[in-house]
Structures are given as C-alpha cells and as structure tokens.
Subunit: 362 residues, 2 copies
Amino acid sequence: MRLRLPGPTEVPEDIANIGSKPMINHRGAEMAELMEKLSDDLKICFGTNNEVHILTSSGTGGLEAAVVNHISANDEVLVVTIGVFGNRFLQLVEMVGAKPTVLKYDFGQAADVNDVEDALNANPNIRFLVMTHNETSTGTTNYQIEQIAKVAKAKGCLTIVDAVSSLTATPVEVDSWGLDVVVSGSQKGWMMAPGLAFISLSEEAWDVQKTCKTPRFYFDLLKSRESLQKGQTPWTPAVSLFYQLELSLDKLKSEGMDNVIARHATCAEKARNGIKDLGFELLAQKGYESNSVTAIKAPEGLDVSALLKTASEEFDTAFAGGQGSLGGKIFRFGHLGFVTEEDIANGLDVLTKSLESIGFRN
Amino acid sequence: MRLRLPGPTEVPEDIANIGSKPMINHRGAEMAELMEKLSDDLKICFGTNNEVHILTSSGTGGLEAAVVNHISANDEVLVVTIGVFGNRFLQLVEMVGAKPTVLKYDFGQAADVNDVEDALNANPNIRFLVMTHNETSTGTTNYQIEQIAKVAKAKGCLTIVDAVSSLTATPVEVDSWGLDVVVSGSQKGWMMAPGLAFISLSEEAWDVQKTCKTPRFYFDLLKSRESLQKGQTPWTPAVSLFYQLELSLDKLKSEGMDNVIARHATCAEKARNGIKDLGFELLAQKGYESNSVTAIKAPEGLDVSALLKTASEEFDTAFAGGQGSLGGKIFRFGHLGFVTEEDIANGLDVLTKSLESIGFRN
C-alpha cells in the first residue's frame, strides 16, 4: 500500500530494516553513545541548542508532556486553534485545570499575529501561548508563528508549539524564533515508524517546569533530563525505534535540512497544482497551505469514502479522509517524510483514476 | 551482546525482522484486522475474557494507566511493595493524591496473604489493592497473589497488578484469580522490542474507570476502548512493534503457554543451581524465587561493577546490577523471554570466567 497520508508515512527500506538490529542493554555504554548522537542530531533538525528529549509515545504523548510539565491548574493560557490538533491541545490544557482563552479559527484559516496580540492585550494575566504549527487536519500552516512567538515572548509568555507534522517539512527555527517548548513525532517527517515523540525545552521552560504543580510521572521531563546525563531514558525506551531514528537523522543531515524542506515545498506545490487541475478547491487559506499535507474540499456529489475505498482497493494507495466534523467534507493528500515528486505524480494519477472509477466528474 | 538482563531481552531474528514490514494505514482495514488478532491472542496469554489494550509506552506507562484510570484523589489504597517496582507503583498512587497504606517488605521477601488480610481488616475504607506480581529488582515473586487477590476481592477491593515481568514466565490467570487490572510490557517475556504495554480490565474495573476523577488523556483507557471498537488505537500506535507482537503471540501460542512457563521454570532453576554451585546466595526468600530473573547477593569483597564490566567487555554478556539502594549489593541474571537452557549454561560459564578474570573467589 502506498501511503499518501499525513502520517504514518512510508519508511525507507534501510531505515525499516535497521530496526531489527540486535537488542542492546538500555543501561549500557552502547545506549549512552547512541543517546548522545541522537540528542546532538535532533538539535540540528530543531535549530536549537536546547536539549531535545525522546519519549516512547505517539506525538500526542509529546503534547501531553509539553502541557503537564509547564501548565498548572488556574494558569491563564492562550490556546490558538485552527483545527483538530489545536482542539486536542486545548483538551490537554483543560485537563490540567488551567484557564484557557481560546482563539479559534475556521477550518482552513491560519492564525493572525494581530489577533494574538489583541488577545494577549485583553488579558495580561496570560502566561502561556499554546499553538499548532502545522494543522494536519486542515492542511494549513501557521506561517506567522515566528511573529506570534515574538509577540507572546514580549508579553512574558512561554510558547508551547506542536510541530509534530511541520518539523522537517517546513522551517522551524526553535532558537531564533524563541520557541520555548516544541514537540514532534517520529511517524511524520522523520521517515520512520511511529512510537517516538521529540520535545525541546528552553532554559525558561525548564525554570517553569521545576515549579509546575501538575502531577506527572511517565511524562515527567525532569526525570528525562536527569537520565539523559547518564545517557539513558527514565523508562525502558523503544530501542528498535531509536535505531531507526539514528539512520533517519543521518539521512536528514546528509540531504541537508534546507534541501529536505525545499523537497517538501516542491512536492506540496506539485500536489496543489495537480489537484487544482483536477478542478478541486483547497481548504487552506491562500498563502497558508501546508508543506506536509494538502486538504481538498469535497465538491457536492463526491462520496469521499467511496473515493478513499477505491484508491485503496483498486489502486493500492491510502489517502486520508477528514477528521471529526470534517468527515465527508474533505480528503487529504499527504506529502511528508520519505516523499519525491514521482510519488506526487503517482498520487495524482491514482486520484484521477479513482475519480473515474467511481464516476465522479468535476 | 548476549543479554542476560531482566529486559530488554533478546529478540528472535524473525520477530526482529518482521518489524520492518512496510508501514500500513493505522486507520485502515489491515490495522483493524491486526488489532482484532492481537486482542484475541493477548487474552489467551493473560488467561482472560477481558479486553486487553495495547499502549505505545514502556511498562511504566502501563502502570500509570492502571493507576490514573481507577484511583482518584483521597481514595484509600493498600500498596504492597517488595522492591523498586512496588515503590514505583506507590509513587503513582501518591501522584494522584490517593491515601496509601503501605505494606512494605524487605528486599527479597514476598508478600504474605495474612499481612494483607490484617491490613485490610485494620482499614475497612481501603478500596484498592495495588501490587507487583514479580519484583524484577529483587528476583522475588509474589506467588501468593491468587490468595491475596481473593482476600482483597472479598473486602470489596479492586485489584491492580503489575505483571510486567511475570506474564509468560509465571502462571497468571487473570479471570480465575479475579485480577481486575493487569499490566505487562513488551520487552519482558514477550520476546520482542520495548515500546508497548498491555493492560487488561475487568468489567468491575471499567465501572470504576468511568467514575474515576483523576485527569488523564494519553493513557485514558476509555478512549482506547472506544477506538478498539473500530479496530484502532486513539493515538498513532507503534505499528512496527504491533507487527512484532503478532509474531511473538503466534510463537507463544504455538509453543503453548504451559510449555512457555515450564521452559522459564526450568531455566530459572538451572540458573539458581549454577549460581549456588558457584558459592553465592540468592536474595529471594526460599520458595519465592522468580522465574524471570535471579538476584544474587554480592559477598564481601566482590566488586559488582567490575564483574558486570568484565562480563560485558571480555565476554560480550550483559548482566544487571542492583537498582536504587541495592546498587553494589546484588547482581541479577535475567532468564525470561527468548531463553533456553543453553543460554543459562552460557551465562553461568561467563559468570565463572568473569569472576576468575577479576580475581574473585568465594
């Protein structure tokens, strides 16, 4: 099955295979050496000198870690949401008993720095900005994130960013943009299997972490920090995925992060053009289309589930439907991770044939 | 490196390799089919008709799930601890703000049903029994667990059991013993890589789960239950590890759980006998020695770290040291998962040679 999903993405054969290397002692010297290498290489990809920690969990586990380590009950938080994953972040903020102010956009819209500034001006008690960089559910990217983070910083907020599906596909400069907490997930742009989350914390974030009152254990990042000093993780790590990550990072470094991002931009543009040529409209606001995934509006009369079924069963290709209230209203064409222009051409071809097969004409 | 650790354990080549199969759509039909198969097979290994859920986390994540889904702030809980992992369970109970009564045994001692009964009689408000089945840190197994669970049940307690390192190595009969919540971890007896936790819940446990007030998100088992109806997990699962689990369960079924357990018992006995022949004493109370790992007291004059270093560097074999306050006082010989009598003979041989190499004589 070819996966034109916004994750899990296809895994190059050599990365997949390296996961089967013999198991090592996760408290031994080999592991410590591996941890140091992964930690250094992740910093390069994140554009940061901050420590980057690796969690054995999905990206959602990483988002939970970002929240429970920093936000306490009654803290005032600005949550900027442009879709399903922004809403998930909001649920986590609510879970810890914090007081969220919600800046919510329609599906397909991106956040505007002026709105954020207004919201922060209206409530000077807000201490945290929580937002999604790339919204997988709508194929929309908050490209104003740098300006937004700077506004939030100027107001004394800690910025907590979901970069689960943006990192490697879109520029993310943690240090120069001043992003305090940034989360990504292995099954997105990292060309490897699901099961790991990555999270970077600035020194300001660690200061807040130390005094955060929210109970935590598995996702307690102080435990991760103490273990990292010994080249370990606090709990048994998913060692086979650490092997995959090592090779994935080698490949990313060897291609060069700028080139990796440029490849994503080219693939995304090719996908958008092809989709428009087929007569479809995109969900994302112009100028804010995602490099990771393209969300396509289903025109009247298009049965999305029939389309996905046909693409899968007749043409061995998985596209994604809409999540939550977007179910049946959109479909999504993923182009992140191990993706080439040829994959895009192939995906467009499958789409064309599947539409023919179900007898839909735009 | 040969791993004579109590996890991560060695992974058979075919199980390791199957993890590199191409990625699939985690929301598609193939995944649903796989989920159903894994779910059915796990039930066989757990000896239960209860649903068994798979979490992408280490075993500790599974323990957190067991606690945060059932125990609320101010709940009265009896925590039975015989070592490091029992103490970890206690920390989780404390994290949710519950009121623990702690029944604590010296390292190497196992829990006694009479003590549990006394503790429950002394405090009729206790609603939960939390305990470790096999204590990896001391090589001691709570073989009275069935009687203890029955006493707890008769007092109206929900029983929450850490079977992370006992399942597949020691009989665990979830249904006939009346264990409400039971946790295991993939890197222990399951002959596969780390990164998954398994958890079974009785209907009584689900009833408590529904009213439990502890905030939870990533480990919210109700979300797992709802997703399982659709053959899914709530968050992206570690798909490559699910592939490994499928083959691991096939192998366990084909060997037969009784035979798997008998193999562990034979290997454990052989290890104990060999260790005693070398003049060492075991940490575990007689009759409560673990099938998963043997903990060996370090006699005066034995430098445990030198021993482990020599075994690792000269003989390519990893044994484990003592955890926490047991550091330097014991070393541990793991024999669970993919283990044969030949592995035990080999481990004993390495131990003999390593002791010679560091010039230690009993």
